[in-house]
Symmetry: C2
Subunit: 385 residues, 2 copies
């Protein structure tokens, strides 16, 4: 095994955002030399890496030239040029997640077909090359309201997803490739992060429960562990591990799932990287998801994935009605509460529902953590000055 | 209260070493703009701060000019120009620790007199302006062997300290100001870190136990919490809090103490900053010492100081007989062990007993953590290639 701690080894990261920055802090523990590629001159990662390279993540040449200089290449965002990754793999660069995995994940139609091919439970769906085909299928009686429209590509944080209850709901949607998914009534949204290193060692984090904001379709609370039965937790973990095996992924794979009304587990989507549903691991787990991702892609032994204490994460998003220079109203009041750590991402401008940071609440008693989380949510307000 | 999270606020740190680097990671959580002054071009902090300034920490003008540009100024090393700090205080810069505190701490004779003046228990001692005065006092019968010689200034990590059992042990010691301290037989070395913010809110971390390397006089293990009776822990905590009150310090104050054979607590020395005896707080405590130092000097509410799990810290020092390009032999083997996180400081060259990093071991069972710590110590070796 290569001794990363004492060599001229270089780790490359595609994307210079907040996830990359949190990953970079952990490279410092291991004294790893890091290079970051991002198209934004003042990307959050700039201050935390050894080398910052300016370039478009979707541009073949930018990604290929950057990747050629590093030993291991990883991502903090899925929307990168996969052709470049494929050619880098041929050149001997270790790319985690692999180009093949990313190609499947980048396209939601392909991702859904992958689940079907691998007998991974997922909500029934149909693929359409164009939005207009949906309208045709509805008029032919081949598709009934309500259903969930999803753009095949470039959706994130609830963008590119819409519940369609009547024909006019389709107005204004992008015209391109999409899927129509059955609207499955569910009790809970769950997630499991699976870590797998290049040698195949696999560990999974406890099942977490995600409470969503009803309007913004963004995660409002992540609760670790999920308040579900042991049987159901086992079932969710098994589905996540099966998904991980199917992808043969290296690094982290965050598997988002629905718990249906009749307690079936359906895979919604996956992310092959550190994920919003794992931020509470920094304070609550034996090994943070960021350290774990590094251990996995560097083929080091994986760390413990169980929790020291109960953890709840609250996303800090811009309040409705405020756009401009950000001000964190009452942040000092939430810091008085037990077990509260704010993580401010350093974005200078706020706008409604923009992700500006997150707050972790830890406590030996999960219910107490959840109670404090609600206080946090009621107290702090991300506004403009 | 100033909202540090949304302003043009600047935090200055004197010293660009490893402690500063760990402090800087935590400023990122709060999105604090940071400036660092250090005399070394490639200081560890350089990669983690917003502005890096080159300058000698003992130089009045360098420290004053640097300090004038920031709102709050702190240190990661005690040996800085205190006259400059005093003048910066007059100019309205918030300096934590205060120049007065640092002036007392920088000189061990003054520090000991401070304890006596404030009725803080400490080992009996005599102060000498020159080493030659010790020899005179011995020949006059005014001082008996054995005793502990300590240089009044610029000692660190066991440098500047020597047990003197016979006259010839004084040979080769620095000629300047020093103290001779009674050699007190002790069972344990203990430490308590006290946090105090500018508004006076005070919290103390649990008492830790330090096991020293018999030859190098460096801490080998830090064990949190100390395996001592509740009564004794209370006594140590009370002494630490009394010391903190006497200094009126703001920030962290690490109070190192001896537990004598008859269970008295004697203060050995203090450090007004994050300290080696608190590194395990990163993984074991609700609030890491670095986050706590920031909360304190920014006058934010202090975080919980109790532990999530038991924690043991092992210092990683260069193995005897090896000098040159560092190689961390068997580091991947310690990472297989439960609850182990290495922190590699990134120094390129090793030499015997040089501090190259530390390893934290956490476990719900402290004895198990201590057992794993011994395995860690036996397994990893910091050598040269």
């Amino acid at each position: 095994m290569k001794n990363y701690f004492s060599s001229n080894f270089k780790l490359g990261i595609l994307g210079g955002g907040q996830l990359g920055k949190m990953l970079l802090y952990n490279t410092r523990k291991f004294d790893i030399y890091t290079c970051v590629l991002d198209a934004t001159k003042d990307a959050p990662c700039k201050i935390a890496c050894d080398e910052f390279h300016l370039g478009d993540l979707m541009d073949y040449q930018a990604v290929f030239n950057f990747g050629k200089q590093v030993d291991v290449l990883t991502i903090e965002i899925e929307n990168v040029n996969v052709d470049a990754l494929e050619d880098l793999e041929k050149e001997g660069v270790k790319v985690y997640p692999a180009s093949k995995t990313l190609r499947t994940i980048q396209n939601k139609a392909k991702q859904k077909l992958f689940y079907v091919d691998n007998s991974i439970p997922t909500a029934p769906f149909s693929r359409f090359a164009y939005l207009s085909e949906i309208e045709d299928t509805i008029s032919n009686g081949g598709l009934n309201f309500p259903f969930v429209w999803k753009a095949a590509q470039f959706g994130y944080d609830g963008n590119g997803v819409k519940i369609v209850r009547k024909l006019s709901d389709l107005e204004g949607l992008p015209k391109g490739e999409c899927i129509a998914e059955n609207l499955v009534p569910f009790k809970n949204e769950l997630a499991v992060i699976v870590a797998r290193n290049a040698s195949g060692e696999t560990k999974s984090y406890p099942v977490v429960e995600m409470e969503f904001h009803p309007e913004a379709n963004q995660v409002e609370y992540v609760i670790c562990p999920a308040r579900i039965s042991e049987d159901l937790a086992k079932k969710a973990e098994d589905v996540a591990l099966k998904t991980s095996r199917a992808f043969h992924h290296v690094g982290l794979l965050a598997v988002e799932m629905f718990q249906t009304e009749d307690d079936q587990i359906l895979v919604n989507e996956v992310a092959p990287r550190p994920h919003n549903s794992g931020h509470q691991t920094i304070e609550a787990s034996y090994t943070s998801q960021f350290e774990q991702h590094l251990r996995a892609i560097l083929d080091l032994p994986l760390g413990r994935t169980d929790s020291k204490v109960g953890g709840v994460m609250v996303n800090l998003v811009g309040a409705e009605g405020y756009t401009g220079d950000v001000f964190y109203e009452h942040i000092e009041n939430i810091m008085k509460m037990d077990g509260v750590t704010p993580h401010i991402y350093g974005k200078k401008q706020t706008r409604p529902f923009r992700k500006m940071g997150h707050v972790t609440i830890v406590n030996e008693d999960l219910n107490e953590a959840r109670r404090v989380a609600e206080q946090v949510k009621k107290t702090i307000k991300v506004i403009s000055k």
